[in-house]
C-alpha cells in the first residue's frame, strides 16, 4: 500500500467537519428564519384583518356587496393584501383580486374551517387563483353574536422562499471558499507537522550512512523538541561508542601488526579471522583479504593445520616446532590455544608463531663449535703424542729422524698455539664487546693499514704477490678506533688474500669513505668463494675447503675475528666474491662511533 501524505490524511476530515457544520447551520438558520418570518407576517395580517373587519362589518350588515367589493379592492391595492369574504356556506362573496363568480367553494379551506369554529384560521398554501404561495389568515365576522361569514386576508410569501434560496446559495459559496481556505491552512499545518518528521528521517539516514556529526535543528514544538533532543543525544552517544570501538580495534590492529611474532586466529570451521603481518611474511602471503578463507587454502602447510586442529580440540596449550621448507626456509615455534567465549564454548583458536630459525642456527653453531674446537685441538695433539712415542721408542738413535720428528712436533705445537691464540683473542674481543668496552683512540687509518701491509710483506714475497694500497681521498683518514685490533683485522684479511691467491697476482687494499663510514677493502684475484658458502664465512671454524685450508695453516677463525673486531667498533663486514675470479672483503667502521651508540 502506498503511504499517503499527511495532508491527505488531514484535509478530508477538515472538509467533513466544515460541511457538517455548514449544513447544520443552514438547516437551523433557515428554519428559524422561516418561523420568525411567518410569525411576523401572520401578526401583521391579523392586524390588517382586524382593521378591515371593522370597516366591512357595516356593509355586511346592509349587504351592500358592491360597495364592499370596491372598498376591499381599494384597501387591497393600498396594502398589497388580498382580502376575501366568504359566507357560511363557503361561497366567496367578495374578493379583492378576483371576481367571486370565478372562484370555487372555499368551505373546505383549512383557515376557513378554523375561522368558522371561532378561532383565528391560518394556513400557507399555493393559491391556484394567483399562482403563488400565500399566507392566509381568516377570522369569523360576527353580527349580533352570530357568525355570518369569514373575513380572510392573505399575502404572497414568495419573498420568503427567495430569501431562503439566496441564503442557501451564499452558504454554499462560503462553504467552497472556506474549504479552499481550509485546504491552504491544512497544507500549512501539515507541512509544519511533517517538516520536523522529514528532518528526523533525514537525520536517521545520515546516521545510518555513518555521519555521526549530524545534529538536528531543534523545532519549537514541545513534543518535537523533546524528540529532537533525544535524537541528537542518541547520535552523540552512538558516535562516542563507535569511536571507542574503533579505538579498540585500531589499538588491537596496531599491536598485532607491530608484533614480531606471527599471530593467526581462526573460527571453529578453520576460517581465518585474523592474520598479522608477521604471519603473512612467514608464509609469503601477499594478498590482503585472507579473512574468511580457510587456513588450508591460505597456508599450504600440514603442520600448521594439525596444530590448529589440536588447539581447537583440546583445552591445553599446544606447542610445536614447525620446520618450513617453502616458500622460505624457517623454523617456527608455535603456541596454539583454543579461544573460548563467555559461556566457555570454543569459538576458535589462536596460533602464535615465533621465528626461531636464528636461535636454532646459533644452537647448531655452538654445537659445531665445541665439536670443532675439540677436533682442531685433538688432531695436533694426537700427532704430537704419536711422534713423541715414536721418538721415545727409537731412543733418539737416528739423529736425522729425530730432528725431522721434532720439527713436525714443533710445527704442530705452533699450530696449537696459534689456534689457542686465535681463540683467546676472539673470546677477549667478545668479552669486551659484551662489556661494551674497548679502548679507542683517534689515529690515522692509513698508517694502520700500511703497518699491516708491512707485516704481511714477507709472506707476499714468497708467492711473488704485489700488495697495492690506495686511499680514495688521497688524504690521511683519521678515525677513532682500537689500533691494534684494527691492525689485526686488516692482517687477517691480507693473510687470507695471500693464502688463497695464486703466485704473481695482485692484491689491492682500498680505503674509502661512503655515507658516514670508513671502508677498508682487501681485494684479491684468487680462487674466490662459491655463493653457498658466503653466509657462513664469518662463523668460527668455517672453512670452504677444510683440507686445503688446513694445509695452508688455517684454523677458520680469521674471519670470525675480523667480524668481531668490526662489530666491536659498531661496524660491520661484507664480502663479494666470484669463483675463480677473486674476492673482496670489506670492513665498515662508522666515522663517529660513540660508546652510547654501542649500548643500544
Amino acid at each position: 500500500m502506498k503511504a499517503k501524505k499527511l495532508i491527505w490524511q488531514l484535509y478530508p476530515s477538515y472538509l467533513l467537519v466544515i460541511f457538517i457544520a455548514l449544513i447544520l447551520l443552514v438547516i437551523y438558520s433557515s428554519s428559524a428564519f422561516k418561523t420568525f418570518y411567518l410569525a411576523q407576517t401572520s401578526n401583521d395580517l391579523r392586524a390588517r384583518t382586524l382593521l378591515m373587519e371593522t370597516q366591512v362589518t357595516p356593509y355586511f350588515k346592509s349587504r351592500e356587496f358592491l360597495k364592499l367589493r370596491a372598498l376591499i379592492s381599494e384597501q387591497g391595492q393600498k396594502t398589497s393584501t388580498r382580502f376575501t369574504m366568504v359566507d357560511l356556506k363557503g361561497e366567496v362573496l367578495v374578493d379583492s383580486d378576483e371576481r367571486p363568480e370565478k372562484m370555487d367553494n372555499h368551505a373546505q379551506r383549512p383557515e376557513i374551517v378554523q375561522a368558522l369554529s371561532g378561532n383565528w384560521g391560518m394556513a400557507t398554501r399555493y393559491s391556484r387563483t394567483l399562482r403563488t404561495r400565500m399566507l392566509y389568515v381568516a377570522k369569523a365576522i360576527q353580527l349580533d353574536n352570530q357568525i355570518v361569514g369569514v373575513m380572510r386576508s392573505s399575502i404572497p410569501i414568495n419573498d420568503l422562499d427567495e430569501t431562503l434560496n439566496g441564503l442557501m446559495k451564499k452558504t454554499i459559496l462560503w462553504g467552497v471558499l472556506i474549504s479552499i481556505f481550509s485546504a491552504m491552512v491544512g497544507f500549512f499545518v501539515s507541512r509544519k507537522i511533517s517538516q520536523p518528521i522529514q528532518e528526523f528521517a533525514m537525520g536517521a539516514d545520515e546516521i545510518s550512512t555513518g555521519n555521526f556529526e549530524f545534529q538536528l535543528p531543534v523545532p519549537n514544538t514541545q513534543e518535537f523538541k523533546q524528540l529532537a533532543d533525544a535524537f541528537n543525544n542518541m547520535s552523540f552517544q552512538i558516535k562516542d561508542r563507535i569511536q571507542t570501538v574503533l579505538d579498540h580495534v585500531s589499538e588491537k590492529e596496531t599491536i598485532l601488526s607491530t608484533m614480531i611474532e606471527g599471530v593467526i586466529t581462526v573460527d571453529v570451521d578453520g576460517a581465518i579471522t585474523t592474520m598479522n603481518q608477521s604471519a603473512k611474511t612467514y608464509f609469503c602471503i601477499e594478498s590482503d583479504d585472507v579473512k574468511g578463507r580457510s587456513v588450508g587454502e591460505v597456508v599450504r602447510n600440514t603442520a600448521i593445520q594439525t596444530m590448529i586442529h589440536q588447539a581447537l580440540a583440546s583445552n591445553e596449550l599446544v606447542q610445536e616446532d614447525i620446520a618450513l621448507l617453502h616458500p622460505q626456509k624457517l623454523i617456527l615455534h608455535g603456541h596454539g590455544m583454543a579461544l573460548k567465549n563467555a559461556k566457555q564454548e570454543c569459538v576458535g583458536a589462536l596460533i602464535v608463531l615465533h621465528d626461531i630459525t636464528r636461535i636454532k642456527r646459533l644452537e647448531k653453531m655452538r654445537q659445531n663449535f665445541v665439536a670443532n674446537v675439540s677436533h682442531e685441538l685433538k688432531t695436533p695433539i694426537t700427532l704430537i703424542k704419536g711422534f713423541l712415542e715414536t721418538l721415545f721408542r727409537s731412543d733418539f738413535e737416528d739423529k736425522n729422524e729425530t730432528e725431522e720428528f721434532l720439527t713436525i712436533i714443533q710445527d704442530h705445537t705452533i699450530r696449537l698455539e696459534s689456534i689457542i691464540d686465535d681463540l683467546l683473542s676472539l673470546s677477549k674481543i667478545e668479552q669486551e664487546q659484551e662489556n661494551k668496552w674497548i679502548e679507542t683512540e683517534r689515529d690515522c687509518m692509513n698508517e694502520v693499514i700500511e703497518r699491516a701491509i708491512v707485516l704481511c710483506q714477507k709472506k707476499a714475497h714468497q708467492k711473488a704477490l704485489n700488495i697495492k694500497f690506495e686511499s680514495e681521498s688521497g688524504k690521511k683518514v683519521m678515525a677513532k678506533m682500537n689500533v691494534s685490533l684494527m691492525e689485526q683485522a686488516v692482517i687477517n684479511l691480507l693473510d687470507n688474500a695471500i693464502k688463497y691467491s695464486s703466485d704473481n697476482a695482485q692484491i689491492d687494499v682500498l680505503l674509502a669513505q661512503s655515507s658516514g663510514e670508513n671502508i677498508v677493502s682487501v681485494r684479491d684475484q684468487g680462487c674466490g668463494i662459491s655463493q653457498e658458502h658466503i653466509p657462513h664465512l664469518f662463523e668460527r671454524f668455517y672453512r670452504v675447503d677444510a683440507a686445503r685450508s688446513r694445509e695452508l695453516g688455517g684454523t677458520g677463525l680469521g674471519l670470525a675475528i675480523v667480524k668481531h673486531i668490526a662489530e666491536s667498533h659498531s661496524g660491520r663486514v661484507s664480502v663479494t666474491s666470484e669463483e675463480n675470479k677473486g674476492s673482496q672483503f670489506s670492513i665498515y667502521i662508522p666515522m663517529t662511533h660513540h660508546k652510547e651508540e654501542k649500548n643500544v
Partner: protein, 227 residues
Amino acid sequence: MSSPLEKAIKDLNVMFLNYCAEVEQNVHLAVQSFMKTEPKNIQIVMDKDRQIDQLEIAIEEECLRIMAVYQPLAKDLRFIVGILKMNNDLERIGDLAVNIVKKVTVFSDRDIRLSEYGGAFFLPEMIQKSLNMLKKSLDSFTQQDPELAREVCLIDDEVDALKQEMKVLVLNKMKESPEQISTLSSILRNSYHLERISDLSTNIAEDVIYWVDGDIIRHGGFAHSSS
C-alpha cells in the same frame, strides 16, 4: 544452513587441500635432501609418500561417493571431476619426489657434493622454476584464479628448454669424465623428474581452468583461449 552436497564438497575441499600441502612439502623435502645430500631424509620422504598414496585413494573414493549419492550438476560436477584429475596428477608428483630423493644415495656413497659439479648445471634453476610452477598451480586452485593457472602453462616451455640444454651439457660432461657417469646420470634423471613435475603442474593448472571457466584447454587448446 548449507545443503548436504555443499557440506560434502566443503569437506572434500579440506581433505584435498591437506593432500596438496603434503605433496608439496614432500617434493620440497626431497629436492632439498638431494641438493644437500641428506641421506637421512630418504626414508622420511618414502614414508610420507605412502601416506600420500593412502590419501589419494581416500579422496578418490570420496569423489565417487559424492557423485553416486548426490549426483551433482554443473560447477559442482566440474569441481569433483577436476579434483579427480588433480588427485591423480598429484599422486604422480608424489612418486617423483621419491624418485628424486632416491638419487641422494649416489652422492652420499661417493661423498661427493653436488656443488662440485659447477653448480650442478641448471639444476638449481630448474628446481626453482618447477617448484614455483607447482606452487602456482596449487595457488591457482586455492584462489580459484584461472589467470595464475595460465601463467603456469607459460612457464612450462621454459622448463622444457632448460631440460634440453641440461641434457646436452651433462652428456658432454659424461664424455669428458666417464668415471663420473653414475653421478652425472642421476643428475640427468632428476632433471627429467623435475621436468615431469612441471608437466604435471601444468596439467593441474589446466584442470583449474576447466573447473573455474569450464573450458578444456589441454592439447593445444590453450593457444586459442590465451590469445
